[in-house]
Every structure is written in structure tokens, then in C-alpha cells.
């Protein structure tokens, strides 16, 4: 049954050895990594918005797997609970009620929000702490909390407004794509829990193919603009959406049409700016040394002291 492929394997029961690790890093914040010896197959989560029923099993599974708890909240008139991502809640289903102007149908758009695992991650670009944010060759972008210093630069770097800083331990948190589960052959907990297989997980190629089938199906049912959300502005993402209205991603709780790392972040973090700063400082130091040697010291003479004495004593008389 085509709609239920990519069923995740049963969990290993013993001696689960991670299949990838430090040696598979392709990017490391504020530092460099040697090119990895092998290239892992790129993975991706695919979230089919059209199949989501809004049950929040993904949120529950996320809390469960990551051993997080969130306080009981208050209903603010929306099904989106909690109303935003938090340092403990790495994924939130965002509910939008939208009247399609063409059909006059009320459409309930439910988008599971969370880290998109960008191929070009803005958080990693902005991070000043070496190794606090890493990217594996399978595409997963992960935070190393031992190295996180809590500055919040990742928040500024992210084009999707995903990382949240804990007020408890002052560290940044976001979806890990269950990197620990993926490393032992499992998919993300949310994909495991999703009852309609709106969330599936596999290689990026498999997910693109699966999305093709879903998009064809949606188009045959009147969603002419159905499409895949794999934004090229961040060189593609390892969490992709099938959107019934892919021409208007903003309908889905403000999903950006063309997300990319802000130019401000690029300039802020550019090597050119760092070198220019160092060069300017070095130039001023050199200029001051040259000035000291060529024109200094600008010492006052005994004659000056005598003139001052005359002036002061002249006044005292």
C-alpha cells in the first residue's frame, strides 16, 4: 500500500552502535573539520501537510523521546499548543483556518513546525562557539549542549526562527532530527508516532520520489498548485513539506517563501569583516609606532618648566 511505505524498522534491542559520529561532520561552528572520508546518504523527513490530522502524536513522541516536559498551558483560542516552540518543545503543530477564495471551502492547514535541517544552516554560520553546532554528511544539523554558551546567535542566524534559549540552563534547543535514533537505524520519534504517515523518513532521494507521488495525487484531486517545499535559498532542507498550496507557503503559519540566511548575518559573520577588522587594528598600531619613532616623544623641556614657573610665581607675588 503506497501510502504506508517507509515503515520504520523495529528498534534494536541490544548492542546498538551508532553508525556515524564525529568523523562524519561536514561543518562545525566557528572551526573547521577535515573532509570526511566517506559521504553518508542524505536523509530527510517528509511532512505531508495534506495527510496531517492534527492529533499531536508527533509532539507527544518528541517530548517522550527527548525526555522533555512542558507545563500545562492555557487555551488562547487556537489548537496550536503550546502557542510557540519552546526550549523543551522542539516541534509544534501550527493550525491555520483558511477560506480558499476559489472554492469557498474552509481549509484547516496544519503545519508541523520545527528545525528544517538546512543544507546551508544559518544557526551554524552564526554560532561563535567551536563545535557547538555541527552538521553531519547525512544532512542532520545538531547542537552540542556541552559547547553551547547561550549567546543566542543561532536564533539570529536561523531563517526559520527555530532555536529557543532555555532560561534554565541558558542553552539553545531545537529538533535534532532524532540524530541518536537515526544513528542506530531508526527514524525520528515523530515519524514513528504519526498515525497517518503524514511524517515519513528516509533518504532524501526516496523522500523526493515519495513526494512526487503525493503531489500527483493531490493535483488529481484539484490542488493544482500542490508541490514540494525544499527551499533552494538554504540549498535545500532535510525536513521537507508536501504543501497542497505550494504557491503560497505563507498560508501555512508564515512559512517563508524563499528562506535564506540574512545578508546581515553574512556580513556580520564574514571572514572579510574579520580580516578587515584585524587589518584596521594592525594598521593603527603600526601607524602609532611609526609616529612614536618618527615624531616622538613630545617631551616638554626645562625651558617649558621655567616658563611655567615664571607664570605661576609671577602670579603668586
Amino acid at each position: 500500500m503506497a501510502n504506508f511505505e517507509f515503515v520504520l524498522p523495529p528498534p534494536p534491542t541490544r548492542n546498538a552502535t551508532p553508525s556515524y559520529g564525529e568523523q562524519d561532520l561536514v561543518r562545525r561552528s566557528a572551526s573547521s573539520v577535515p573532509p570526511p572520508a566517506r559521504k553518508l546518504t542524505e536523509v530527510s523527513k517528509l511532512i505531508d501537510v495534506s495527510k496531517c490530522i492534527g492529533c499531536k502524536a508527533c509532539q507527544a513522541a518528541c517530548l517522550e523521546w527527548n525526555d522533555e516536559r512542558i507545563p500545562v498551558g492555557e487555551n488562547d483560542g487556537s489548537y496550536t499548543i503550546p502557542p510557540d516552540l519552546t526550549p523543551n518543545m522542539f516541534t509544534v503543530m501550527r493550525f491555520t483556518e483558511w477560506v480558499n477564495p476559489e472554492t469557498q471551502d474552509l481549509e484547516w492547514l496544519i503545519r508541523k513546525d520545527g528545525c528544517m535541517h538546512c543544507e546551508d544552516p544559518g544557526c551554524l554560520t552564526a554560532c561563535p562557539s567551536p563545535g557547538a553546532i555541527v552538521q553531519y554528511s547525512n544532512g542532520i544539523v545538531d547542537f552540542d549542549h556541552d559547547k553551547c554558551i547561550g549567546c543566542g546567535y543561532c536564533v539570529d542566524g536561523c531563517p526559520f526562527n527555530i532555536p529557543r534559549i532555555s532560561q534554565v540552563d541558558h542553552k539553545a534547543y531545537k529538533c535534532t532530527l532524532c540524530s541518536d535514533r537515526v544513528a542506530v537505524g531508526q527514524g525520528p520519534a515523530c515519524a514513528k508516532a504519526c498515525p497517518t504517515h503524514a511524517i515519513v523518513f528516509g533518504t532524501k532521494e526516496e523522500m523526493k520520489q515519495h513526494a512526487e507521488g503525493r503531489i500527483t495525487d493531490l493535483k488529481s484531486r484539484g490542488f493544482a498548485n500542490a508541490g514540494l517545499y525544499d527551499p533552494p535559498g538554504v540549498k535545500g532542507t532535510h525536513v521537507m513539506y508536501v504543501l497542497p498550496h505550494a504557491d503560497q507557503p505563507a498560508l501555512y503559519a508564515g512559512l517563508p517563501r524563499d528562506p535564506k540566511i540574512s545578508p546581515l548575518v553574512y556580513v556580520w559573520k564574514s571572514a572579510a569583516k574579520r580580516y578587515a577588522s584585524l587589518a584596521a587594528m594592525a594598521a593603527v598600531v603600526v601607524a602609532m609606532v611609526v609616529h612614536q619613532v618618527a615624531a616622538g616623544p613630545n617631551r616638554n623641556t626645562d625651558e617649558d618648566e621655567e616658563k611655567a614657573r615664571q607664570l605661576i610665581e609671577g602670579r603668586d607675588k
Partner: protein, 213 residues
């Protein structure tokens, strides 16, 4: 002016509160520069060890920044009137070659501060205002959710650029101490010699003698 306060060899230049504020500002500035370097240049991240690690560096930097702003506020109030721009200051700027060569005989007489010091005073005041505002915006622990992320990006960029400008000014400021021997003691014991004042700040010396200071 009383003879006990001013003598030829010990002209009173900076009172104790000004000197304390100056050195609090100076130490704060250096600590801010070091911690800022660590967070700005990946290659200098190791400097965070000096502050007890990355997290404490991130924690301390804004508080040290407040110490700098508060101490500079004292300096601002105490130096404000002496740093107002005068006609001779424009002459100083126009005759920069004479200034750089130390040919003070070609320059008019100057008051307590010369134009370069005034520019440093006003320049740093401006830079610190921008650094304070942009720094508060990106002070994640307390103000992280107060402004839109686009504003925080701009603030982070601005903060880093203005910090570099402040460091450039600071380098020049420190250089002037080595260039004009006799200057440092104005900020340590608070006094200068009559000859130093005669050479560099003759109008100020005349004001002291006239009893205006």
C-alpha cells in the same frame, strides 16, 4: 587658586573620582575587548578560558559593558564642559601636520583638553551609546525576546563594527600617553608639571594661574 593645591611640579589635573572612573573604564574596556574578541573571532575563542569558559564569558561581557558605561558616564559629566568645541580646536584640526610633529609653537594655546582629546571624548560617547543600545538588544538572557530577530541581526552587526571602531580609538588614546611623557601621571597621582601644562595646555595653565580652576 591656593598654593597648597597647585605647585609648579604638581599641578592638580584630575581629581580622585575622575581617576577612579577612568581606570574602571579602562579595565572594563580591556576586558570587553578580550571577551568580545573571543566571541567575534573564532580563532580567539580560547580567550574565553581567561573568563572561566565560554558561558561565563557570555554572562560577564554585558555586565562589564554596564560597568564601562557607568564609569564613562562619570567621565562624561566631569569632562563635558571642558570638551566643548572651541575655535582653536578647528585650527588644531587644520594644522594636523604640526600636531603630529609636535610643533606646538605653530599652534594656538589650548585649554584643559586639545581637539584630539575632545574628539576622543565625543567619539567614544557616541560609540558607547550605540554599543549600549545594540548590546542590550542582543543581551539574550534578559532582552532576547523583546525585539524582532531582524533587529537583533542588525544590532549584532552594528555592535561588532562599532566595537572595532572603539578599539581603534583606544589604541590611539593609549599611544598618546607614550608620545607625551608626563601624561600618564595625570591619571595616576592626578598631577602634571607646570612645564607639561605650558607646552601642551597653556591656556589651561593660564586659567589655573588666574584662579579659574
Amino acid at each position: 587658586m591656593s598654593a597648597e593645591r597647585h605647585t609648579v611640579s604638581t599641578l592638580k589635573r584630575h581629581p580622585l573620582d575622575v581617576r577612579i572612573a577612568h581606570w574602571v573604564a579602562a579595565v572594563s574596556f580591556i576586558l570587553l575587548g578580550l571577551s568580545g574578541f573571543a566571541l567575534f573571532f573564532p580563532g580567539f575563542f580560547f580567550i574565553t578560558a581567561l573568563f572561566g569558559g565560554g558561558e561565563t564569558t557570555r554572562f560577564l561581557h554585558p555586565w562589564i559593558g554596564l560597568a564601562l558605561v557607568l564609569s564613562y558616564l562619570v567621565l562624561f559629566v566631569r569632562f563635558f564642559s571642558a570638551c566643548l568645541w572651541k575655535k582653536e580646536d578647528t585650527t588644531w584640526v587644520l594644522r594636523a601636520p604640526d600636531v603630529l610633529a609636535g610643533r606646538e609653537e605653530n599652534l594656538p594655546e589650548f585649554g584643559k583638553f586639545i581637539a584630539g582629546q575632545k574628539m576622543y571624548f565625543w567619539g567614544m560617547a557616541l560609540l558607547f551609546v550605540v554599543l549600549l543600545v545594540s548590546g542590550v538588544i542582543i543581551w539574550q538572557a534578559y532582552f532576547g525576546s523583546l525585539t524582532p530577530i531582524a533587529v537583533q541581526r542588525l544590532a549584532a552587526l552594528t555592535h561588532s563594527i562599532f566595537a572595532v571602531l572603539a578599539i581603534l580609538g583606544f589604541i590611539i588614546h593609549v599611544h598618546m600617553v607614550t608620545w607625551e611623557p608626563g601624561t600618564l601621571r595625570a591619571m595616576i597621582s592626578g598631577t602634571v608639571t607646570g612645564g607639561w601644562a605650558w607646552k601642551h595646555h597653556r591656556k589651561w595653565l593660564r586659567e589655573i594661574v588666574a584662579g579659574k580652576n
